[in-house]
């Protein structure tokens, strides 16, 4: 960084070591750890460090990213053993005296380096009918009170990053489990006062791979970069199956 482009005063810089889990389907080798030393600034995120590696040291390092500020959901990965968005994890918030471990999210097949096959995850999402089902054809907007709107506000925040589902111990061992993200997105419609198909979705999630699979381990809630109370949403869906939507 040259002096004139420095924006927020003197930003301290540090040297950190990243251990990145590498896998390339084309080189015939097993997945392995590889370490890189990078110089980072106080405001840098893990994504910046990965970019530095890719741009300055090893162009073949592969990961997904787009928005770089936690709204597109591209870059969920396991950072120091926990699912995080690389673009929302400030390096200074990690213990910098230790190496930083970065590996792909767990439970989905690794395609290359930090890239996993997201299709099963998307399929579970699509399986819960994540869209408004309403038969009326209003000329203007449907009315909805602020309270009714607030009922499902939390679960509208989901960016489908899969941090939750791939932090779930049940999903790791049972890939058939719908997973928290699908339930969150079902919740978003089940509790939308305009929707008419909550029964259908509840029936889908009453499946043997549905909500009953959840063991309330809260990993999903802790992993969610959008701060969605995932476990609570799952509990609400369970209640709705038992005693109806309230």
């Amino acid at each position: 960084m040259s002096a004139e482009t420095k924006k927020i005063g003197e930003i301290p810089s540090y040297k950190v070591t990243l251990f990145v889990r590498r896998f390339n389907p084309e080189d015939g080798q097993e997945a392995r750890w590889e370490d890189f030393d990078v110089e980072v600034f106080g405001t840098d995120r893990v994504l910046d460090a990965l970019h530095k590696i890719k741009w300055e040291q090893d162009g073949s390092l592969t990961f997904r990213r787009s928005c770089a500020h936690g709204v597109c959901g591209s870059d969920a990965m396991r950072i120091n053993g926990r699912n995080r968005l690389a673009c929302k994890t400030l390096i200074k918030d990690l213990d910098m005296s230790q190496p930083i471990y970065v590996e792909p999210i767990k439970g989905l097949a690794v395609e290359k380096d930090l890239v996993v096959d997201m299709n099963p995850f998307y399929q579970a999402y699509r399986d819960v009918k994540p869209f408004l089902i309403a038969s009326d054809k209003p000329a203007k907007e449907r009315l909805q009170s602020a309270e009714e709107r607030a009922r499902f506000d939390d679960t509208t925040k989901c960016i489908l990053c899969a941090a939750c589902t791939t932090s779930c111990p049940v999903f790791w061992t049972d890939g058939q489990y719908f997973g928290p993200a699908a339930i969150v997105n079902a919740h978003r419609f089940i509790f939308d006062s305009r929707d008419e198909a909550s029964e259908v979705r509840l029936e889908i999630l009453n499946d043997k791979e549905g909500v009953w699979r959840c063991r309330t381990t809260f990993n999903c809630t802790e992993a969610c970069p959008r701060g969605i109370e995932v476990t609570k949403a799952i509990a609400e869906v369970k209640q709705a199956i038992l005693v109806g939507r309230r």
Binding site: A31, W172, F218, T221, E229, K238
Partner: protein
């Protein structure tokens, strides 16, 4: 072909570790229960058979094992209540963390109340 990830341990928090413990204790209790059902069934065979088997339980090693079993039951049972509260109480999810520590403290208190007395029984101390 695509590869499955080799795992390092996921660094879950209280929620995850309480579940791991709940599971382990559940399994332990289950296997004990199998044995316990069988040994109790011996009362129908004969008093001697029953007493013979039960006497082998009265050794210090089994006694310590029983201590562990009780600890497991205490945790499993109390944590089970915590899980039920998470499921049925609206604020359960919010307080799950606090509730875990309540479970731990309660289980510990009960255990501390129980352990000396049990050890006394096992080692024939006079209390």
């Amino acid at each position: 072909m695509a590869k499955l990830p080799a795992g390092t341990l996921y660094r879950g928090k209280v929620g995850m570790w309480s579940w791991v413990l709940h599971r382990i204790t559940g399994v332990a209790i289950f296997f004990f229960l199998l044995v316990h059902t069988l040994d109790t069934a011996l009362v129908r065979v004969s008093p001697e058979a029953y007493d013979a088997v039960i006497n082998t339980y009265k050794t210090p090693i089994i006694g310590l094992g029983e201590l562990g079993l009780v600890a497991a039951i205490l945790f499993h049972g109390l944590n089970g209540i915590r899980v039920i509260l998470i499921d049925f109480w609206r604020k359960g999810a919010k307080y799950q963390n606090v509730m875990f520590w309540i479970v731990v403290v309660l289980a510990a208190l009960l255990f501390i109340g129980f352990a000396p007395r049990h050890l006394a029984h096992v080692f024939h101390w006079n209390v």
